[in-house]
């Protein structure tokens, strides 16, 4: 048995009050794209995070609010409310809430009553960084500094962010991002043709050696996951992925192409938002690159109109093309890197049963990531220990792909490449 039932349950359950749910609430959470709340007094949005039903809105003065979905009065959804005059007004009896969850108007009660001053709904900080809105659902007194992951702190012109609905627990999606060995199979026929991967010298090494050896080392904020492949007699080709607590990965770069990164944020225990980010630390993204990403290139996907749901989905078998599979145009027959991953991860079922899996040596990153999550959740629960990765210093890291002499361990040979030095190029092959 790989994981015990108890470990599995701890890892996949993220509602309030669960060990992992409480752990995740201590981090800033990628919650929305800024485009979803485009202007003051725009339509409020339903948001579900970590199993919690919320409403996001941008008030008249441009402040973002994230409040409990239901009116304190009779439990009506504030999605149907009116976003007006610095508050969200329930359409049933007119009770109105500000971004801090205070009831600021109660027109259904006598004017002289102060009852409204005694009524509040849940409210959480929601703040904009670049083109994303981040939420914090934890105890106010323990709110950490804003995220300083490289892509979160760059000017918006250097970053492209998309999100897509994934119908699986966050963990199997995250584990897909940590599992570097699948790239040589699942994505092998995309590397030369995909606009955001082609032209990398590393592609040849990836395809030539499908049996990387792994070396996993704890970092302050997560893990360094080094995958080494034979390059020539004297050197290894290293691809070093960063796993950052609790759900981030930074993909090793491919040549001069943009760096890719992910976050997998639980909506509830059976679905998550897959955030896909491409960025360049030194320059604005080119029109061509943005067009490619909007068209579903790289780690992004094509949406159903007006949604963040992929067109390719389980009900249409992810538009699998058996001819393309036979012709070695796509290893699995599914088009696009994002949906190749999603199709396989969703095929495990909403929550993969990890008590029945068989892990091998190439799963070392997954094993250690689970261990870090379990350990952090337990330390928080038992000893109120601060979770790892909250300090900005632990977030200032990069991934890298490079050649190193065979006798040089990646922790030493790539030490500088794995640290974030603002306004410098990344190390990539």
């Amino acid at each position: 048995m790989a994981l015990t039932q108890e470990q599995q349950q701890t890892l996949v359950s993220t509602n309030a009050g669960t060990p992992m749910g409480e752990l995740f609430r201590r981090y800033w959470i990628p919650a929305l794209l800024a485009e979803e709340l485009p202007e003051p007094d725009c339509a409020p949005l339903r948001v579900r995070l970590l199993g919690e039903d919320l409403i996001a809105f941008c008030d008249t003065s441009g402040r973002y609010g994230l409040v409990g979905e239901f009116c304190a009065h009779r439990g009506v959804s504030l999605f149907f409310g009116r976003n007006e005059e610095c508050g969200l007004r329930c359409s049933y009896h007119g009770w109105k809430y500000d971004v801090e969850g205070r009831c600021i108007d109660m027109p259904s009660e006598p004017e002289e009553s102060n009852f409204k001053d005694k009524v509040r709904i849940a409210a959480y900080p929601l703040t904009r960084l670049g083109d994303m809105l981040w939420a914090y659902l934890g105890p106010p007194e323990l709110q950490p500094p804003q995220p300083e992951i490289e892509w979160a702190a760059l000017p918006a012109s250097r970053v492209y962010v998309s999100k897509r609905l994934q119908r699986s627990n966050y963990l199997q999606a995250l584990e897909g991002g940590i599992d570097s060995s699948h790239v040589s199979f699942t994505h092998r026929f995309n590397l030369d043709s995909d606009p955001l991967h082609r032209g990398s010298l590393g592609n040849a090494y990836l395809k030539r050696d499908g049996r990387p050896r792994f070396e996993v080392v704890e970092s302050d904020g997560g893990l360094f996951i080094g995958a080494r492949r034979n390059a020539d007699d004297e050197r290894y080709y290293w691809r070093i992925t960063q796993y950052l607590m609790p759900w981030y990965t930074i993909i090793p770069p491919f040549g001069e192409n943009l760096i890719g990164a992910h976050a997998w944020v639980p909506i509830d225990d059976e679905s998550c938002w897959t955030w896909s980010i491409n960025y360049h630390p030194l320059r604005a993204l080119e029109e061509r690159e943005i067009a490619d990403m909007r068209a579903g290139g790289g780690i992004h996907c094509v949406y159903k109109p007006g949604t963040y749901e992929p067109v390719a989905e389980a009900s249409n078998d992810y538009l699998i093309d058996r001819r393309a599979q036979r012709a070695n145009e796509s290893f699995s027959g599914v088009a696009g890197i994002a949906m190749q991953d999603a199709s396989l991860q969703e095929s495990m079922g909403p929550i993969q049963d990890r008590t029945k899996e068989r892990l091998g040596t190439s799963d070392s990153g997954i094993i250690m990531a689970r261990q870090r999550l379990l350990r952090a959740a337990k330390a928080l629960q038992d000893d109120a220990e601060q979770p790892p990765g909250l300090e900005p210093s632990a977030q200032r890291v990069r991934s890298a792909s490079l050649l190193l002499p065979k006798d040089v361990p990646f922790q030493q040979g790539a030490a500088d490449a794995l640290r974030l030095h603002p306004d410098t190029a990344f190390v990539s092959l």
Partner: protein
């Protein structure tokens, strides 16, 4: 319908020094399918590898291991198609590199460097 029941993978754990000793004590007590085998027990090792799925070396980063013997055992395991992994408990400076680590890197399909002794147990349990 035939129901398939999977037996736990058989893992042989070996190593040297105090950290390996601690792992041995735990493994004996709690993990089915895991067998501890001292690295220097030549004849018993051959038998232990016979039906193993995986060989796991466990050692502290600063500990002394008979590297010649370790490579011989790893080579024997590989010759039988057995996966080889190494877990190194490194409580020293994060960037410290030791001869042992370099040696494991050559011998094993996977090297994990952990800081917490409990992780040794967790990793072996996950690999079963």
């Amino acid at each position: 319908m035939t129901r398939v029941r999977r037996a736990a993978a058989r893992i042989v754990v070996t190593g040297a020094g105090r950290s390996a000793g601690a792992a041995r004590a735990f493994l004996r007590a709690e993990l089915d399918g895991v067998r501890y085998q001292p690295l220097d027990a030549q004849s018993e090792f051959d038998g232990a590898l016979g039906d193993a799925d995986m060989l796991v070396f466990v050692a502290g980063a600063a500990e002394q291991v008979d590297q010649k013997r370790m490579h011989a055992v790893a080579s024997a395991a590989r010759g039988r198609g057995i996966l080889v992994a190494a877990i190194v408990l490194d409580t020293g400076p994060p960037d410290a590199e030791t001869r042992l680590l370099a040696s494991f890197r050559e011998a094993a399909d996977m090297v994990m460097i952990v800081r917490d002794p409990d992780d040794v147990r967790a990793v072996i349990a996950a690999l079963r």
